[in-house]
């Protein structure tokens, strides 16, 4: 099983590394942003999909990361790499704090509280314009000192690969089993010796850390950031990506993020209507096929294999 996963990861990484040949700058930019959203979607999936903590604050942590590096570079004069590290630390710390604050909250109460947190970040960034420059936007130096799309493509591919490797190790270890147990039945998990408090905090911290890191890299890519990074529509996008790809599956959020990002970029002419379109897709998926594209793909694959090797199927049943 693990060897298969490793092989799949190598093929995917090699494919992604080779793809830029023959892509124009616009397409490179689209996929690069797709990688950014994939990190956000995958880390939200760790919280909501694997652990059942339906937090609505992910966009807040991306913005915190972006502003942490931007402000520390402008006001403290730290180098970019240190700004990014600070961003990861700030988001991780805030994630831990939010986790502590919401420890005893379930379901809708957790959702409302975390949403409140993200809105607070949004409003603070807007209203604190003396510091953040508000809607005018904060200028941030670019990571590589240039705007070469190909370089940033590889930076974000690397970021995604590292994030996924960390998430994979967590989800496929003992810890991953504990997280699923907490999602399925927290009371039962505790009664069998799982320190539910500790693992929930761990998940909040890790998911915020990765998101803050991605937000910081994003800031150094787009060079001007605004409070709209913490807008609720950003979270909606992340949720749509995860749901379409397959919540609680490992590959789902990545596939969903890339697919949605490609579609929104190339369906751009519909303007705000693409949001309506995605909302409809989500409603239909939740009603009919809650496991998303990954599960659908798995089922089709099994059908295909059964059709190609009818005997194997019979043998497996017997």
């Amino acid at each position: 099983m693990r060897r298969q996963h490793l092989a799949l990861a190598v093929v995917a990484l090699a494919g992604a590394a080779a793809i830029p040949w023959g892509m124009d700058d616009y397409a490179l930019g689209v996929v690069t942003i797709g990688f950014y959203y994939a990190v956000l979607a995958a880390s939200w999936n760790l919280l909501a999909g694997y652990t059942g903590q339906f937090s609505l604050a992910q966009q807040g942590f991306a913005a915190l990361g972006a502003y942490a590096t931007g402000l520390s570079i402008r006001d403290l004069g730290v180098p970019i790499w240190l700004g990014i590290l600070l961003a990861a630390a700030v988001s991780c710390g805030m994630g831990l704090a939010l986790g502590l604050l919401t420890l005893r909250l379930r379901a809708i109460y957790l959702a409302i509280t975390t949403w409140g947190f993200a809105e607070t970040v949004h409003i603070t960034l807007t209203a604190g314009y003396q510091v953040t420059r508000g809607e005018l936007g904060l200028s941030v130096p670019t990571l590589l000192g240039n705007l070469d799309p190909l370089s940033y493509y590889y930076v974000f591919l690397g970021l995604l690969a590292v994030s996924l490797a960390v998430l994979y190790l967590v989800c496929h270890s003992r810890i991953g089993q504990f997280l699923r147990a907490i999602r399925d039945d927290e009371l039962r998990a505790a009664s069998l010796g799982i320190d539910t408090t500790r693992w929930k905090l761990f998940v909040f911290a890790l998911s915020s850390l990765l998101t803050g890191l991605a937000g910081a890299c994003y800031a150094h890519y787009v060079a001007v950031i605004g409070p709209d990074m913490a807008d609720f529509s950003e979270l909606a996008k992340i949720v749509v990506m995860v749901v379409i790809g397959g919540m609680g599956t490992f590959a789902g959020p990545v596939l969903g993020a890339l697919l949605v990002q490609l579609l929104t970029s190339y369906l751009g002419q519909f303007g705000a209507w693409d949001n309506v379109l995605f909302a409809l897709v989500v409603i239909v998926l939740m009603r009919t096929y809650r496991e998303g594209l990954v599960a659908l793909g798995r089922r089709l694959w099994r059908r295909l294999m059964a059709w190609m090797h009818p005997r194997v199927e019979v043998a497996a049943r017997g």
Binding site: Q177, R180, A181, D184, L187, A189, A190, S191, L192, G193
Partner: protein, 246 residues
């Protein structure tokens, strides 16, 4: 008392606002004992289980395991000390397979050797008759099978000292009930594990338990063997009904 009981409940009371669920309950279970806990609905049996397992904390009194107080110890740490429980309505990890439901407590309680865990789960799957369902998600099981799996999961724990079972046989068919009784008895014999079993099923309690405690209106009404219980006027009046015979 010459030696400390394995599980000691000392003068425990629990009030929910004006409602008194448990009043000055004292219980002492010796190593290797299987104790029945019976009483009418609303007698405070489940509350007592919750107080022992740590889901609720007592308004007064204390619970001790092997002489150590459990005051302020959260449920997950009680589990690590070998105190496990089941729930009246079976609680399982629904999206996990039957086997994963067994491996989880093994991992959670410090089991490191995956191969040993797998061997243990194989053995328990075989003995509980759940082997052919090993790769099914637990939510697909019937009610009786879920109750069985919930019970068996506790046996994955190496250091199980005391197992609290809240209505383990409710709605379970006779065949599975037999399996459960065998497993409980076997584990008790092999490891001297203490069991505290809440049940309304008198024949099963009779078969399994050397002593029973009768709870009524939150208090201990009686404690003794099943025969003594049946002879006690008080208990028969309060709970068993006049026409009941042992």
């Amino acid at each position: 008392m010459s030696s400390e009981a394995l599980l000691a409940v000392e003068g425990v009371s629990k009030r929910f606002g004006g409602l008194v669920a448990n009043q000055d309950v004292t219980l002492r279970l010796e190593r290797g004992e299987i104790r029945g806990l019976i009483g009418p609905n609303g007698a405070g049996k489940t509350t007592l289980i919750n107080l022992i397992s740590g889901e609720e904390s007592p308004s007064a009194g204390e619970v001790r395991l092997e002489g150590r107080s459990l005051l302020g110890i959260p449920p997950f740490q009680r589990a690590r000390r070998g105190l496990l429980r089941t729930f009246q309505v079976p609680r399982l990890f629904g999206t996990m397979t039957v086997r994963e439901n067994l491996l989880l407590p093994y991992l959670a309680l410090g089991g490191r050797d995956r191969r040993a865990g797998r061997r243990r789960s194989d053995e328990l799957l075989e003995r509980s008759g759940l082997a052919r369902l090993a790769e099914e998600p637990a939510r697909h099981l019937s009610g009786g099978q879920q109750a069985l799996l919930q019970l068996v999961a506790g046996f994955m724990c190496d250091g199980l000292r005391c197992y609290l079972l809240d209505e383990p046989f409710a709605g379970v068919n006779p065949l599975i009930k037999e399996t459960m009784i065998d497993l409980i008895r076997d584990h008790n014999r092999r490891w001297s594990t203490v069991f505290l079993i809440v049940s309304h099923e008198m024949p099963v309690i009779r078969e399994l338990c050397s002593r029973v405690t009768v709870l009524a209106a939150g208090r201990v009404l009686f404690e003794g063997t099943m025969e003594e219980v049946a002879r006690s006027r008080e208990v028969v009046d309060a709970y068993l009904g006049r026409e009941w015979t042992p």
